[in-house]
Every structure is written in C-alpha cells, then in structure tokens.
Assembly symmetry: C2
Homo-oligomer: 297 residues x 2
C-alpha cells in the first residue's frame, strides 16, 4: 500500500468511527450512504443523517479523487506538476435543538505528480448560545492534540480558525472557532508521516471534543424564541458558507457533487430584517461574544 | 434641478408609488421606513414590509450615493474619472403563500465626474410553481414597455435576464426570467433622456406586471407540501443571491448597509439533502421548467 492509499484508508476508518459515535449519541437515526464517482478518477462516500432525535441534518463525507491540476492551484505548489490526488473527510452537523452547537470539521491530504504533498484540516464549533465553560472544554481537547504535535501549533491554528471562520460583512465570527491549518508539508524535523499522525489525531479528536457537549445539552428544554434564534444563527452560517468558504466555492465553481457540497446547509434557516436582540438577553450576550480571539483556554 | 437630481426625484416617486400599490394589495401590513447615510455622501431610504396578509417579507429600497470611484469600476468607463454618483430603486418581495411568486426588480443610474453616464435595471419573477399562462402575461407587460423603447429591446433584455438569473451549479434558472439591461448609454439616435424615459416606464411596469398575478393567486389554498417546496425554492434563491448576484456581492465587499443588501433573503428557507420531487408532481414540473429561454411570449 503506497502512502496515499494508507492515508485514504485511515480517513475512511475515521469517517466510519465518527458516524458510529454520532449514531450512538443520537440513539435513533442512522447514517445513509451514497457512493459517487469523480470524472477525473476516484470518488466518494457521502454519509448523511437526518431527522434524528439529536441531529436534524448532518453529513460525514469521504472522498479520494484525482485529475488534472486546476490552474489556480499551480501557484500553491513547490514543484511543477500536471496532476493531483486529494483525499479528505468533511463533516457538518446541524442538531435539532438550539441548545446543541453546530460542528464542522475536515481533514485532507493533497499530493501532485511533481512530488509536492501536504495536509490540512481543522475542527470548529458554532454554538447557537455561547457557553464559555463549554467553549473552554472544547478548546482544551484541541489544545491537547496540538500540543502533542508542536508547542506552537495550538496558538497558531486557533488564530487561523478565528481569522478564517469570520463573517466579514457582519464583523462577527461564525462561532467560537477551534483549530484550522493548511499546507502542512514535511520540513526539517518533521516528516510527512509525523504530520499524517497529527492529522489522524485531529480526526480522532472530533468525538471527544464534541460528544461531551452534545450530552450536556441534548436534553435541555428550549423555547420558541430560542428556536427562532437558532434559525437566525443558521442563516449566518449559510452566509459564511456561500459567500466565503473556500471549499464550498471551489466545489461549486469546479462542478463538484452539489448535494455533498451543500449538505453543509441547514434544513431550516431564517433572515429577519434588522434583527436586534433584546438588551441583556442571552441572544445579545452571544452576539457580543462572536468576536475574534475569545474563549482561548 | 440638474439631471442626476431629476433622476433621483423620479426614482423616489417610483419607490413611493410601488409601496402604495403593494400595501393596497396586501390590505394589512404597511411599509416601515429606515433612512441611512452613506460614508462618501448621500444615503438612502429602505422601506420594508413584514408579516402582511400577502407579503411575508419585502423591501423597496431607494438610494442616492456618491464617493470615490472603486478601482474595479474603472475598466467599465469610457472616460477617466475619480468620483461617481449612483441612484437606484431595488425591490425584492417574498410572499407568504407558495402560490404567489417572488418578485425582484431594480432601476439604477450611474454617472462619473468624467462625463460618463448610464442606466441599468430589470424585473424578473420567481414563481414557486410555474404557471405558463401567468408567465406569458408577465412577459407581455414587459414586452410592451420594451417595444415602445426599441424593437430589439425585449429579445435582448429577456436573453440577458435568462443568462443572469441562472444558478450555474444547479443548471437551473432562478425563476422564469423577465428583462435585465445594463450600461445603457446615449448613442446615435438615443439620448440619455430617452433612456431615462424608458427606465421610468420599467419602474412603472412593476405594479401592472406583478399585481394581477398576486390577485390571481393570493387567496388560493395550499398544503404543507407546497409550503415545504416554497422553502426549498427560497433556499435556491438564497444560493443565487449569495453566490452569484453582483449587487449583493458588491455590497458585501464594499461595506454597504448589510440589512438593506440582505433584505433580499427570505424569512424562512430550507435545504433538504438530495431533494427529488415525485415523478409527475407539480414540483417536478416546475423544476423541469426552470431552464433558459422558456416562457417567451
């Protein structure tokens, strides 16, 4: 098995483990699988959950595709190349209850026939209502994973997540951030296998980072007002994904599988003209906390 | 009164007439006004209707602003210039009932201190369920307005609307089109006043093109399934506006007033993974009709 097959196999295992963990947490709905082929070669398995007791809509997608290198990728390369191979797992989960945060994660590996290779990935949390204790515990799990890789990794990847998951036109973060990294290549003192090991650890951190927060919140009662706020917060999630998210825009522009790309969008979202939360309300507290750099450990 | 003031005054009158006509059709809700200032000079009046008997959410926005010319506009100009003035009316109406189509329209005038000046605008309809008779009657009103301006205008502007209001990643039109035109400058046999007259006629065609369709449909009963289909069609409207619409993206990128730009988004929208209408259903018929070039007169 060559390296790319080793990576793809490990990623498929992570997809499977995460689906099992989420099904157990839901206790009712099961993931449904769709296999699809890519025109250039390879394909993917989209696993989708819907109308669960806990998860209203979510996807855990695996893909391993290859093809001619898109022109706009060429300035990212260290060596000349004509073809790429890419494999990854991409996750977005929209819970039914406004008390349970939305989560997003992906891990990905990219290599060219010119010998260039790198990993990227991350995990970030979008609570409808920000709970600072829960935010800290989420960040601590990610910090532990990062610290085992490099002492500077957490600060750097946390900053990257804050900068990336940012709804510029609202001057508002999408959620409380997490970690985000890209273009991790081998370099002095760090082999591609070291990076692969770290990225697997990130994939395996998904459940320990998310499930305790799901368990803490999934049985909490909620009001109609809290449900409406969830729909508004999801509207902003849609704005981020359609206006800014590189993966979404890349997929839409290059003719990716629409249903797998847009599985990140929630079943229901809402936009209210001039929505302004009541002064002193929990909704206002959350909006005020959606700023860069908060909730570091 | 110089020409730009004359245009702005006429546009404000059109805003006012359209709001009055829509309020009468609604019979319950009234437009609420917000005035705002632009950093470079001028400002606008956003008029918003919500939770009416007929109209769930809609905006009729007027603006007249000026400022330094944005760099990306410069390759559109015939003369060197440093400053612009722009005025326009922009309308998006989301009815409550899935039997009543969404409508969008705008008219706009742009001039520079280099002596360049042009008009743009259009009207297009997005029915939740396509009714070909109603589509034809909508197009006929627009054709009559265009024919009085130039014999080739309707065909050209109808084609432009089909090309523009197109959700490329779904290979699906946003609705049934209408007319769309831009960069109408004075030229041999056509003064800027002739164009201004045409653009006013377009503004005045809004109510005669839309209100008969509202009246025909507003009292029809509808089912839960039809309501869900409305939410899905609105989701695609959101996709178009956030991914492709030039006005929306320009506004978000240049720091426009967010609430006025995003008033085009519906109060509720929905995304269902792998949504496929039942074979032979009205929903399937509509999806099959959302192709370029249909419903010409």
């Amino acid at each position: 098995m060559n390296f790319r097959e080793e990576v793809a196999t490990a990623f498929r295992q992570i997809q499977s483990d995460i689906c099992n963990g989420l099904e157990q947490a839901d206790g009712h709905a099961r993931f449904h699988s769709d296999e699809w082929k890519h025109v250039g070669g390879g394909g993917g398995i989209s696993k989708v959950i819907s109308h669960g007791h806990v998860f209203e809509k979510g996807g855990v997608n695996f893909s391993a595709v290859e093809g001619p290198l898109p022109a706009f990728m060429k300035d990212r390369l260290l060596q000349e190349a004509t073809h790429f191979f890419a494999t990854g797992v991409s996750i977005v989960i929209h819970p039914a209850s406004p008390m349970v945060p939305i989560i997003h994660s992906n891990i990905r590996y990219f290599e060219t026939n010119g010998g260039d290779a790198w990993f990227g990935g991350g995990i970030d949390l979008t609570p409808i209502y920000v709970d600072t204790d829960q935010a800290s515990s989420f960040h601590r799990v990610l910090k532990k994973t990062c610290d085992a890789f490099h002492p500077e990794a957490y600060n750097s990847y946390k900053q990257h997540a804050d900068d990336y998951f940012f709804i510029k036109h609202r001057n508002e973060t999408r959620g409380i951030g997490g970690i985000f990294f890209d273009y991790l290549r081998q370099e002095d003192g760090r082999s591609i296998k070291d990076i692969f090991h770290f990225v697997q650890q990130v994939g395996q951190s998904f459940l320990p980072a998310y499930l305790p927060i799901v368990e803490m919140n999934k049985s909490k009662p909620f009001s109609e007002k809290q449900k409406q706020f969830q729909w508004i917060r999801r509207g902003r999630y849609v704005e981020f994904n359609l206006v800014y998210d590189r993966g979404t825009r890349f997929g839409l522009e290059t003719g990716g599988r629409i249903e797998s790309i847009l599985m990140s969008l929630p079943e229901h979202a809402s936009w209210i003209y001039n929505y302004t939360p009541e002064p002193g309300s929990d909704e206002e507290k959350t909006i005020l906390q959606l700023k860069k750099g908060i909730d570091r450990i």
